[in-house]
């Protein structure tokens, strides 16, 4: 369809000039919307394929461990963010002394993690020659702050949480990276740095995200801190 309403359509990604069927939406526009919403809903609710992810991450040469949060299922996870920030009772992780721990967490979009986490993690590790990196950890029903008890238990000076972000109507597969110096339960969101919208080809590429993160990691190690004192990088943290 091409007409003078293209003036509106070309000016914004918003769903302008959709037309009408009576006072409602034309059927094709209705189905387009449903398809976008379905993709977003499925991104939230389709469980992470942990075995496949562990196998992909294993190609980095690092050991890969798995943990779950204290939220036993998706419904609880969505209603109790506090439980998604704690490890399930009885979780034990091997302690050590590392520069960095990387936690790959399903978050609100397991699909984003399945699609983009292996490529992102590989691109990050490539840029960290000489860093001692703890075994990688795959975490399910996990919020960003679950990285705090994981990083602390592993004995890491910095934790990076690679997590699926809340799906938007046109971005069901967006990955976020959160860096926290000195991980331990109780860290505030203002003590983290965030890189958002890792989602090639529409958002950041793995290389772009890894480059930015590597810069933040070096700066954090030098400063012995993270968060607002480090650098105002990206949007405010959501949770």
């Amino acid at each position: 369809m091409s007409d003078a309403f293209d003036v509106l359509r070309s000016a914004t990604r918003a769903r302008v000039a959709l037309g009408r069927a009576g006072d409602g939406l034309p059927t094709d526009r209705l189905l387009e919307f449903r398809a976008a919403h379905a993709a977003a809903r499925d991104a939230v609710h389709t469980p992470l394929d942990v075995d496949t992810l562990v196998s992909s991450l294993g190609e980095t040469g690092l050991d890969v461990l798995t943990v779950t949060s204290a939220a036993p299922d998706r419904a609880t996870y969505l209603q109790r963010p506090d439980l998604g920030r704690q490890l399930a009772e009885g979780t034990s992780l091997p302690g050590g002394s590392y520069d960095l721990a990387v936690v790959v967490a399903d978050g609100l979009s397991p699909r984003a993690v399945a699609d983009h986490a292996p490529g992102t993690v590989a691109a990050v590790l490539e840029r960290l020659a000489g860093w001692s990196v703890a075994p990688l950890v795959v975490a399910t029903q996990a919020r960003v702050a679950l990285g705090d008890p994981v990083g602390e238990a592993l004995g890491a000076r910095i934790v990076v949480v690679v997590i699926g972000e809340r799906p938007g109507l046109s971005s069901a597969d967006s990955l976020g990276l959160y860096l926290t110096w000195g991980p331990r339960p109780g860290r505030a969101d203002s003590e983290r740095n965030c890189i958002s919208n890792v989602r090639p080809p529409h958002g950041l590429s793995y290389a772009q995200a890894a480059e930015t993160l590597a810069g933040l990691l070096l700066a954090s190690r030098e400063l012995g801190a993270s968060g607002v004192v480090l650098k105002d990088e990206g949007p405010a943290l959501e949770r």
């Binding site: 918003a14 959709l18 919403h37 209603q79």
Partner: protein, 470 residues
């Protein structure tokens, strides 16, 4: 104070303070579970409602949910309460008050219901709503008349206004204009043309205000603009001479919640006074706009009441209305499904909260609208927002929010579409604000029956408006 108790299904439940009675009497919602104040069983909920129904309304004058000495919202409410306005219902219990309201609503006695507003505390409104079913909230809500105005009149019988929300992820002028014109072509924008700015700065706010003002002036549209920046940003824009119609702010029901939003009551007073001086109204002088939403106090960790007890989110929401009404707003809306499933989990909870918020806001004297909306991790879809929208239309909701195709590309959530507003108006026989309706007629955007025309892009009416996008 002695504990209050009631027996349901052979078990006696005890509630140590008014805080527990209110929280446990609240219909189920995830935010109260998260806060740790929800009823632990359905029987306990009914027991709390039974206790609540027998409480005299004056209990809420003598006993506080959030302490007077600790919280300036409590002080604002109690210090400005109109004792005479409460007189018709002063002797009633909460349960009796519900029946009184239903009887007046059935008789169509709007003055009796509306006359109470300044005599009621937010907790009284919250309490009676907790006893009501959804249909009660609709039946009484539509008889609580609140009429406000600036350049259009909001809240008249038989009207449903809309906020046109032409947001853009980078505040791009052409992008905003495209959504704005799309909304006008669909008959939206009579409550306000209101943008959530991507960047909260005085310069950006001024640029967006001037953009909307230019469209309003060019087509002589009887509506008002708003850029929903922080109140301090709007004050700066106002000082620089920007065309500010409405001062906007998100508000919460506790002093701590408002501190979380970076505002104090003094700051709101200052902004209200500054906007009043501009005198930009033609049909009224209501110059503030507030947004609220259940869960905002909890998300700021400012949800505790007397004795450090967690207060339920619906009571706190009503207290936000106690803040808003002090500043004679043109518009107030709850953003009912935005905050996420940890506060309102699914459609049942969102629909219930939308009806509660509309009812309580109106009962307390607010020009109440609702942003009927959801995020993708909440169990809500457009079928559910249809249900809530039609219920709100039946409840006499003052306005709803509409964005192109339901998709807010800046805030990443779904609200109503312009088509949804048309559908609600058509199904329920509702019309836009009268001044805006007359403008739609002048522009020939509606037919003789008042229905918004389906225009092709080369229709003269469409071309006239599209000229603003070039």
């Amino acid at each position: 104070m002695t504990a209050r108790r009631a027996t349901v299904a052979g078990h006696t439940y005890e509630f140590p303070t008014l805080v527990e009675v209110m929280a446990k009497a609240t219909p189920a919602r995830s935010g109260d579970v998260l806060a740790g104040c929800a009823a632990t069983s359905e029987a306990e909920r009914v027991a709390a409602q039974t206790v609540l129904a027998d409480l005299p309304l004056t209990t809420f004058l003598d006993e506080q949910v959030v302490g007077y000495d600790e919280d300036d919202v409590t002080r604002l409410v109690l210090d400005t309460l109109d004792a005479a306005a409460l007189e018709p219902v002063r002797a009633l219990t909460v349960g009796g008050f519900r029946e009184w309201l239903l009887a007046r609503a059935a008789a169509g006695d709007e003055p009796a219901i509306s006359g109470l507003a300044r005599g009621l505390t937010p907790e009284m409104a919250a309490a009676v709503s907790k006893l009501m079913r959804n249909a009660d909230l609709v039946a009484v809500g539509r008889r609580a008349r609140v009429i406000t105005g600036l350049r259009s009149t909001i809240g008249l019988p038989g009207r449903l206004a809309s906020r046109l929300q032409p947001n853009h992820p980078t505040d791009d002028a052409l992008g905003v204009t495209a959504s704005l014109l799309d909304g006008l072509l669909h008959g939206s924008g009579d409550a306000v043309i209101g943008i959530n700015p991507a960047t909260d700065s005085p310069a950006q706010t001024i640029a967006l205000l001037e953009l909307i003002d230019a469209v309003i002036s060019r087509y002589e549209i009887p509506t008002q603009s708003c850029v929903l920046a922080h109140v301090t940003t709007t004050l700066r824009a106002l000082e620089k001479g920007a065309p500010v119609d409405l001062v906007f702010q998100s508000v919460a029901g506790t002093q701590g919640g408002n501190e979380g939003f970076g505002v104090t009551l003094d700051l709101l007073s200052e902004a209200h006074a500054a906007a009043l001086e501009l005198g930009r109204g033609t049909v009224g002088s209501n110059v503030t706009y507030f947004e609220t939403g259940q869960g905002s106090a909890l998300s700021a960790g400012a949800h505790l009441g007397v004795g450090g007890r967690p207060v339920d989110q619906q009571t706190l929401e009503c207290r936000a209305y106690g803040v808003a009404r002090h500043f004679d707003p043109l518009l107030v809306n709850t953003v009912v499904g935005f905050i996420g499933p940890e506060y309102l989990y699914d459609a049942k909870q969102v629909i219930r909260a939308g009806l509660e918020d509309h009812f309580c806001g109106k009962l307390l004297g607010l020009p109440m609208g609702v942003d009927v909306c959801y995020t993708n991790h909440t169990d809500v879809d457009p079928d559910d927002t249809d249900t809530l929208t039609l219920l709100l239309g039946a409840a006499g909701c003052s306005f709803v929010i509409a964005v192109p195709g339901s998709d807010d590309v800046m805030l990443h959530y779904q609200s109503l579409s312009f088509q949804d507003v048309l559908t609600a108006r058509q199904v329920l026989g509702l019309r836009p604000a009268p001044e805006f309706e007359a403008w739609l007629q002048r522009m020939d955007l509606v037919d003789d029956t008042g229905r918004v025309r389906e225009l092709t892009a080369d229709a003269p009416q469409a071309r006239a408006l599209l000229a603003a996008a070039r």
